[in-house]
Symmetry: C2
């Protein structure tokens, strides 16, 4: 069972996975369900915004030139010939020394070119007619939001691949996108291996632990924006496991297994990949935790064989599965966002492999700091609870000292175009 495995650098492994992954199918869905999905079309302005000159305030629409001579001592008096609100259109002609009472958002009457706010006029009533007195000159375009001042028709507003945020939802509504083209959510199956695993609702028994990785992975899949499918657990039996995986592959776009990829006597996945005729891209990576992470493909279908250890499984998902899912969804920033941060403690453990430490980010002043978060063991589950970044420690004989600026990967939904790890 002890076969030699070629060790891949993290960047090489990701490169191998991502080399021919392309965005997946698209579908048109109602805008009301689109929040959080990924745009599969560029959003181009199909009209000017505003689509017409409109009033920015409640006030009076007038011709600026009529107020040319207005002063405190000698105000200009205009006749108010009408009154309308947003949504209506004032049809009558407005002549010299006339004004129209207008509300915020309403379209400017033809021939008017400025607004005076309600607060800045004196209202007069003379022989049942309404007038306003204005005691200062009003400039042309005052308080008018001009047609196209915000957006000109034809402007590219949001590029394909963007995550649909509340702001983008508002923009889509503005331009009349009642439906929107988005990436189809890939269906990702999760199968755990190991006869030590109990279901979550089973009582603990000697030698057994509960299947926590599957639930964690399903939450990770959902967070990325794909659709998780729980497929249960495999027994430590080669024939049954093989049949279960064959069956699983017909149900999902991508299959994640946890455990069974190491060199243990019951680690059947290498043999199952073999029987399936799957092409193993790699089965050993120069990283801790998760060095036994294995990725295989049958045609275009991925089989991710993550470690059975919780932290290794979590990190394996974020580094290797996430970019595939994000790309399939149509997102062009599929990789974890990388930054630098100052470490607030020593990381002294020498290691020949790159270490990924679960950490918590803090901002003090305008600077980013990180500190480690619980036990740094691949079997640790508590270290994941408050973690929002991975510190990347390259191989080192001496480790790293407090106060150094170190690269980190944010465990947020924000992504970047290029992978932090290079080949």
């Amino acid at each position: 069972m002890l076969t030699d495995r070629k060790v891949f650098l993290i960047g090489e492994a990701i490169e191998k996975i991502m080399s021919d992954v392309q965005s997946g199918n698209v579908e048109r869905i109602p805008l009301i369900k689109a929040s959080g999905r990924y745009l599969a079309e560029d959003i181009v302005a199909n009209q000017d915004v505003p689509a017409f000159d409109r009033s920015l305030y409640d006030g009076y629409a007038l011709m600026a030139q009529d107020t040319r001579t207005a002063t405190k001592e000698s105000p200009v008096v205009l006749e108010v010939i009408g009154h309308f609100g947003a949504g209506a259109v004032f049809q009558d002609e407005v002549k010299k020394y006339q004004a129209v009472r207008i509300m915020t958002g309403a379209e400017m009457p033809k021939s008017c070119n400025a607004i005076v706010m309600l607060e800045h006029v004196t209202e007069l009533e003379i022989e049942d007619k309404h007038y306003i007195a204005i005691d200062k000159q009003i400039p042309v375009n005052e308080k008018v939001f001009k047609k196209g001042a915000e957006i000109i028709e034809g402007t590219l507003l949001v590029e394909k691949g963007a995550k649909i945020t509340p702001g983008i939802v508002g923009l889509l509504a503005t331009f009349g996108y009642n439906e929107v083209l988005v990436g189809v959510q890939p269906k990702v199956g999760v199968l755990a291996t190991g006869s030590e695993l109990l279901e979550v609702d089973e009582p603990l028994a000697p030698g057994k632990i509960r299947n926590s990785n599957s639930y964690m992975l399903m939450a990770q899949i959902e967070k990325v924006g794909a659709k998780p499918l729980y497929l249960g657990k495999l027994e430590d039996n080669l024939e049954k496991s093989y049949a279960a995986i064959q069956q699983a592959l017909t149900q999902v776009d991508i299959l994640i297994t946890t455990g069974g990829v190491s060199v243990g006597d019951f680690d059947y996945l290498p043999e199952i990949y073999n029987r399936l005729g799957a092409k193993v891209l790699f089965n050993k990576i120069a990283m801790r935790p998760g060095s036994v992470t294995t990725v295989a493909k049958i045609g275009e279908q991925f089989l991710f064989g993550l470690s059975g250890n919780p932290s290794a499984s979590y990190i394996g998902f974020e580094l290797f599965v996430r970019p595939v899912l994000k790309t399939l969804l149509g997102n062009e920033q599929p990789y974890l966002m990388s930054h630098q941060a100052i470490i607030t403690e020593d990381f002294r453990v020498p290691n020949a492999f790159t270490q990924l430490i679960r950490t918590k980010v803090k901002v003090e002043g305008t600077n980013l700091f990180v500190s480690s978060n619980g036990l740094n063991m691949s079997s640790s589950i508590t270290s994941l609870v408050g973690a929002d970044a991975l510190v990347v420690l390259p191989p080192s004989d001496s480790g790293y000292v407090e106060g150094s600026a170190i690269d980190i990967l944010l465990l947020s939904d924000e992504g970047q175009k290029n992978c932090y790890f290079t080949t």
Copy 2:
């Protein structure tokens, strides 16, 4: 219609809203649906983790003292008396100079206290019996994950109010939480006012704009974790609007309206609050955009009267509605996270009110920078598209210059306990 309004500081307004808001109802839901919800119970370890001494690697369990004398020149040879994997329990007695082949995660056989990895032994077969030769001393507890080494029973793991992340899902599964107690999602209705509003699928018409705020707000409500309900739009007619709002209040926990709260002739909400017997907490805030934001209460039920302008509505939601919803959900960090960042441009517009500028955060080196994002007008929708922070500019005669460190509020899901704005 021009009534005097008392101007509240942002902090005063938030204080008035939040003074008697408490966490809402709770419900028990399946773990598989719990990701993203808020814990309504402390999670305390109901067992040690590990629950038993377990092997960290594939190897041989043995008694460390048997290897005391092992050297390269004179290896110790142990008889292999059995073989088992994770999930099984080795029942036989292991005696001196005996070992058991064991896989990662399996419970240590009684009397064994160390693991030697597969890679570090030489396997021998003598007269149909299996032996291993070990050429160095193995310390006690080597490669053993001791009972309770990660978590001791009774430890408080996650506090009530935490958002359930994938890591917490894994933790809950580990401890057998097949169901989990979470805050009930409040139902939030959205009603737009203004006869200028078209539905998203209607073609543009003179003087009209599409109802973008409602869709944006529904996406914001969903992002916060509550349940949005679209209630359509009110006409510019007092009686009909009053009836529609009365009806809406029976359907939802919280009602958000957009528009209709200013001093315009068709701004009916002040009169409707009056007829409903609602208590208006405030109707004018020293902020831009959104100075006319109004909040009223009928008993415990909130009516948020946000501005009809997109940016003002967006920001009004984040500052005033978000903390109420997060608190009802049971989250004890309901306020936008505040940091400092360096501004990469001048903000020179003097203002007597606090300005909130939609900005984009960038990290360079370990420092946070922000730059403004599109038109800084309350009516702007494009400024919201890529915004991930609000720069807070206190009232100033001269504005702020590039390179200054300025307070920002992150538009992320992360929150903080105390409100940035104080009274």
